[in-house]
Symmetry: C2
Subunit: 347 residues, 2 copies
Amino acid sequence: MVTMKEIAKQAGVSVSTVSLVLNNRDEGRVRDTVANQVRAIASQLGYQSNPLASSLRTGRTHMLGFISEDVATTPYAGGIILGAQTAARQLGYMLIVVSTEGPQNEAQEIEALKRYGTDGFLYAKMSNRITNVPEALKDMPLVLVDATDEAGIIPSVEPDEFHIGYDATKRLIASGCERIAYVGAEDPIIAERGRLDGYRAALAETGRTFDEHLVVHVGNNEPALDAVNTLFDSACPDGFFCFNDARAWYVYECAARRGLTIGRDISVVGVDNHRVFADTLVPQLTTVELPHFEMGYWAATKLVSMIEESSLADMEWPDTTAPLPPLNAPVPAAIHCALIEKDSVRQ
Amino acid sequence: MVTMKEIAKQAGVSVSTVSLVLNNRDEGRVRDTVANQVRAIASQLGYQSNPLASSLRTGRTHMLGFISEDVATTPYAGGIILGAQTAARQLGYMLIVVSTEGPQNEAQEIEALKRYGTDGFLYAKMSNRITNVPEALKDMPLVLVDATDEAGIIPSVEPDEFHIGYDATKRLIASGCERIAYVGAEDPIIAERGRLDGYRAALAETGRTFDEHLVVHVGNNEPALDAVNTLFDSACPDGFFCFNDARAWYVYECAARRGLTIGRDISVVGVDNHRVFADTLVPQLTTVELPHFEMGYWAATKLVSMIEESSLADMEWPDTTAPLPPLNAPVPAAIHCALIEKDSVRQ
DNA sequence: ATGAAAGCGCTAACAC
DNA sequence: GTGTTAGCGCTTTCAT
């Protein structure tokens, strides 16, 4: 492994000079000819800085911790992680993902990450739950991903549920549906509220009146199927906006029983859950994908900006209303939802 | 952050002594009374070693790299990662997971991990594919997970496909099935061969003759459904061993069309893919789960043993034939497959 | 049995 | 402008 010492020797200068040059702190401190020579030798030798060694002096490891208990269970975690990792890499950071099981294990893992000197933390809780943030994280740079803290004080990146509902409903309207149902979730989770509002807004905007008979809130269980069955019979919808693919599944099942074909007799839009449905089994099912990659990407970007205390002004922050532009990874065409960034009073 | 220096000061000894004691290298070198006092002060002060600082001297960071391109796309990745992380933590290591996209990105990520001084690598490729191991990994301690290298030289941990097929088929036999079909995969992937062999072995063992009309190899697509349809009509199976849940799905669909109920008229065992089927939608579907957690766990254990060059003799290596005992995480009851560890000539 | 000293690779004051 | 010096926290000879 090639060190600054070697470069210094070859260039006939001191290590300090090499350090200055390689950290781009040489403006007006090191002669250009010397600086260039150092750079030349460095690249020729294939010099790679040793981040661990510098961390000893600077107190910055350029490592970010990513904490979540859903990594092992949720397929989405991958998208968020990939986004966060992409941003981290671009900014010169290393992302360390840790999946936890229960509070005491979580504390232990955070402890371990702190020992390794991570500069800050991403704390993710899939599907935007209100979250008790672990004490051990509160004194560190911290950004929540797909989660909200009780007090609403910590910076977070969340999907814009309103736009998801709005967009999905508008699509159904655009495809000619007259009686659009909303098959929502049972629990009063954050997403539910926003999506319903978006659904109503889209209806209102196109001069339709909200009809509560077209709305059901179901769990992920047996009674759900009955409820959707009843919905079919009592309200005769021709379009369905479903909270997720699992809910969309019930619609599919009920339609099949009635000999209705999705995409011809009725239209269905679901928000992604287990994408396998839409991908392989029910290709007629349209999904609105949650911007997992983007959430991770922006959360990591925000975190680094906090760590480096650079002003947020020069961050290209995502437009909260417009569809996101593709970042560096390919973004599925179906993404039509935006991010909101609930900025906070810094503690 | 409390350092050895502080402990040394409080104990009235030198840092070297503290280092000796805290690394358990004090046998016959440090007086017991002193050693005990040092330990007492250390724990009282809540001393935590700084792994980065020691790495500077020892060249060991106690960090393991986990490389895979499937993290973002496959739900299984989580299980493997969790297993690897659990083992790493127990052995005093930190797991750094990196998901890659394409070979050049992969090389870049490996490069980054090396700069951070990872002691060794886990290289995962879900569903046991034959793999070209990146050059950059070949000079490092390396264990493959759910993958095999072309030359069969690198240590790997893979599911025992034979036992999966054998076990699944035996279950169908035990539940009274007479005509057991195998709905396999189309591609000649490693798993396919082993599972088919297991299927045949189970049949042979119970005095049944192998009937090739009961076997189909299908993709994950439209024609698959037709093939399974034909299988139903031509061979009249009463039991199905399916390569994965997606294949099991076709069976479910065909059964539904014929008014057959799974669990009563026919029996189905699938190997897990998208577990959602068995969990929520088709509860009658029995799944054999792949030992993702265990694979990650043992792979990390093996890797550490290589890094520390401890003899493999004193490792509790898993029995390759018996069902795995539960490790530290809860293991689903459905696990009935074993791990094989293809040990290799060290380069 | 213990401590002094050197050094891992790098950064940061401070001389000159 | 550049080199010298000191030191981050820890390990490791090598004296004593």
